[in-house]
């Protein structure tokens, strides 16, 4: 998932190990603990390592996403131009901004999950043709839950999971804890093959291979962790 060698100053590679393609990773935790930063890091390390990525921007529009990544010196623009990243922006239209789709950037709506799934289908097919493995990030479910009934969001997640695993991708999905009724959170947990919990101080990882944990901090270079157990 992250490089496991000396150049990986973040230690995330050691903490997370190898995640098999076709799996869904649920990243959850309270607001403002670094979940989005982890997504940017996951996205950028994939792109740098030659794995294309599907990114569903559901917390920030494309412009904000680029701006926030730049704070860490992660530049998205070259990958948008080369088509290695396929972005579905479901928020910018809410601002009343009229922008057309391009090859690598599609605009959809947080209120129209059917359209989102169509675009996910097109995106996963196009990335699947480019590379035998790719990454998919959905950051996050918070706004999607604010605009849609929770049962519909769960159906979206099931469809999304199928799409990503059929295309042999690794899907990272972000959820802010405490924003929906507990039973829907339980269902989300059940859908995931791999779970990562951020609480502001430590990261807990849970998968079929067992549990691991580490302390973490957010630096100019992204998330760094230590004390892996």
């Amino acid at each position: 998932m992250f490089m496991k060698n000396n150049s990986d100053i973040t230690n995330l590679g050691d903490l997370l190990g190898d995640i098999e393609p076709g799996k869904i990773v649920l990243l959850y935790g309270p607001p403002k603990v670094g979940k989005s930063i982890f997504c940017y890091q996951f996205l950028y390390s994939g792109l740098k390592g030659g794995e294309p990525c599907l990114y569903i921007a559901a917390d920030y529009g494309l412009r904000q996403l680029e701006q926030r990544m730049m704070e860490f010196n992660w530049f998205l623009q070259p990958y948008i131009q080369s088509g290695e990243v396929y972005i579905i922006d479901i928020l910018t239209r809410l601002a009343g901004v009229k922008i057309g789709d391009s090859n690598a950037v599609k605009f959809s709506s947080v209120q129209n999950l059917a359209d989102l799934m169509v675009k996910v289908g097109v995106g996963t097919r196009s990335l699947f043709r480019k590379s035998s493995k790719f990454r998919a990030v959905l950051d996050s479910l918070t706004m999607i839950f604010a605009f849609n009934p929770p049962n519909l969001v769960l159906r979206l997640m099931k469809a999304y999971k199928n799409r990503v695993s059929e295309a042999n991708g690794i899907g990272l999905v972000v959820h802010t804890t405490g924003t929906v009724e507990p039973q829907f959170e339980t269902s989300l947990m059940e859908l995931a093959d791999f779970k990562i919990c951020f609480d502001g101080k430590s990261i807990q990882v849970e998968s079929s291979a067992g549990k691991k944990s580490a302390q973490y901090t957010i630096t100019d270079e992204g998330i760094k962790c230590w004390g892996i157990e």
Partner: protein
């Protein structure tokens, strides 16, 4: 890389940014806490700081109409004529109409209603277009979400806030929104915290920066003086 703008609160810029501004530009900050701890005063200071530096301000007021705002601000000895009512000050007044006051819109005064968040968003769009033609950057205040929630479904208010945030950020604005702690369901409160960029908590004694783009958690004592909030 992070551009920070001045909050207008003495002491806060030093606490967060070492003196060169505090709130990250083009982000949205949630100011929350119990009633009567200075959330609206924080809003006035933030808006005033922009106005004295010739930055337009778009103020969405659900608690006070124009007259009340003028009076509240005058209490702190600020030059009202340079503040409320100036051509850089755009006000969406969502409360005067429901108290039965006769008001008519002008180029920078937009009466709306807390009962009608859609109308508030339409007026917001109109105001932002005017501001954008004047200035590439501006400030905005939404004071408060609590009142909107009292008149509408809470999740609808979250959706309206999402639209507000997207519009402000896409247009180059920097905003603060206020919310009274504990007035909504905890799920809604978590959502609010998730969709803003920065979070500042006020409790009457201490100001806690719970989240701020590019900086960690910070805490300092504050007082409300005759010239507004002052952070030690």
């Amino acid at each position: 890389m992070i551009v920070r703008i001045s909050s207008g609160i003495p002491g806060l810029d030093k606490l967060i940014g070492g003196g060169g501004g505090s709130l990250a530009e083009n982000t949205v900050t949630l100011i929350y806490g119990p009633p009567k701890v200075g959330k609206s005063i924080f809003s006035y200071q933030f808006a005033y700081e922009g106005l004295v530096n010739d930055e337009p301000c778009l103020y969405v007021s659900t608690d006070y109409g124009l007259k009340d705002l003028e009076r509240n601000v005058a209490n702190f000895g600020w030059k009202v004529e340079e503040y409320v009512g100036s051509e850089n000050f755009y006000l969406i007044d969502a409360i005067s109409t429901i108290s039965g006051v006769e008001v008519s819109s002008t180029l920078n005064y937009f009466p709306s209603s807390v009962y009608n968040p859609t109308d508030i968003m339409v007026k917001l769009g109109v105001a932002i277009r005017q501001i954008k033609s004047k200035s590439p950057r501006f400030r905005s205040v939404l004071d408060s979400l609590t009142t909107l929630m009292a008149f509408n479904d809470e999740l609808l208010v979250v959706r309206v806030l999402t639209i507000y945030i997207m519009r402000i950020k896409e247009s180059g604005g920097t905003a603060i929104v206020t919310y009274t702690e504990g007035s909504a369901d905890s799920k809604v409160e978590n959502m609010l915290k998730a969709i803003v960029d920065n979070i500042i908590h006020l409790d009457g004694e201490n100001l806690t920066v719970e989240a701020m783009v590019g900086s960690g958690k910070l805490k300092a004592h504050y007082n409300i003086t005759s010239s507004g909030i002052v952070v030690d």
